[in-house]
Subunit: 216 residues, 2 copies
Amino acid sequence: MRNLVNKKALLQETLGYILEEELIQEMSEIARVRETVADEIIIHVGDELLMIPIVISGSIKVSRENASGNELLLYYIEGGDTCAMTLQCCVRKVDSQIKATAMEPSLLLMFPVENMDKWMDKYKSWRSFILSSYHSRMMELMETIDAMAFMRLDERLLKYLTDQVKLMGSMELNHTHQQIADDLHSSRVVISRLLKQLETKGIIAIHRNKIVMKEF
Amino acid sequence: MRNLVNKKALLQETLGYILEEELIQEMSEIARVRETVADEIIIHVGDELLMIPIVISGSIKVSRENASGNELLLYYIEGGDTCAMTLQCCVRKVDSQIKATAMEPSLLLMFPVENMDKWMDKYKSWRSFILSSYHSRMMELMETIDAMAFMRLDERLLKYLTDQVKLMGSMELNHTHQQIADDLHSSRVVISRLLKQLETKGIIAIHRNKIVMKEF
DNA sequence: ATTGAGGTGTAACAAAAGTCACCTACAGAA
DNA sequence: TTCTGTAGGTGACTTTTGTTACACCTCAAT
């Protein structure tokens, strides 16, 4: 468990340009640290939400999952951002509608919901932060909707791969075809087929458990 | 143009149970009334947003539209609700990403964005209202995503029809097949086909420019 | 080295949705 | 009335995506 000074430094570094000193101080006093390994599930569908996470480093994948086990990637959360939706879920005592998975070893700070409410009243910068977060998530959901409504699967796949490359900062993606199929809500066979096409076109190289982007 | 007393009464009736008296008073002083006819387009994609609308009566359809003219229904806004997304669009001076259409003659109150900011600082009830609005829109976007990802078109069509019936409070929908196809981002021929199936099953009756729900 | 599990390739087929072509029906204008 | 534009019906076909089945490969555990 990191100490207070450490937490404050992390917050300062990640959110200092948005949030005022006093708030950073308050936050660092009550934050609880959560470290995750890659592929760790942080929130399950149906979980009762008691704490709001802010991502300090790493990246989180947020997906929808229905009763039949169907999955669909919604958006990513990176360092300095939060899932504002969680906030309202907490306040209203509604169970989580989404699944959150760490894509790499990540560091989160968790805050009890009561403080959110207090900060909302007290700090203008916090209000902006939360509103801005909602807005970003909303835009990202719209992008997801656009992709599903207006793009064919091969285009969505390519977008998925380039998004992942940008996010992870590496041309090598350690994914199985099945994992990709899950994220795009398709089937492994179809994804293998389309990946093969991308390989034939010289855009990627396929290896076991790994896809390497060649063009970008 | 309605007078101040009138606007206050409307606000009181629509939002009095959420917003405090003082805020209602302030709102009624600066609100501008906008009345729309059915099918009037309130916001186009790419519009610069200067005022935030609150729906007093009627219902608004919000859809996504891309450069190629493809369309997709996102969600509806009814009396007492607002499109919080507009707020951030205003603040950030970002052009509208969506199209808003009145589904029936509707009454809106429009507020300049500066006041939003002020109210955000001053009124707790306003903060809750805006956050709650964002949250609702977000949930509705997720429902749309669910439908697109996990339902077949015939199921989506039936959901669309029942949603419309609930919203309009009438079993008779005055839509052409083309309008439905636009909302669901499909083609007229396909929608006609699926509607025919629903008619054969005894769920609807098809007339020119009109669909009547028989079961519900 | 053997075994087994998970990952990938691929052919053959099926289902869902979209497209094209052309038809009829209806309503309002000329 | 006839004409014209819009709405809707339908068959034939294509494209896209999903499914099934099975082969082969790799790697780690035994």
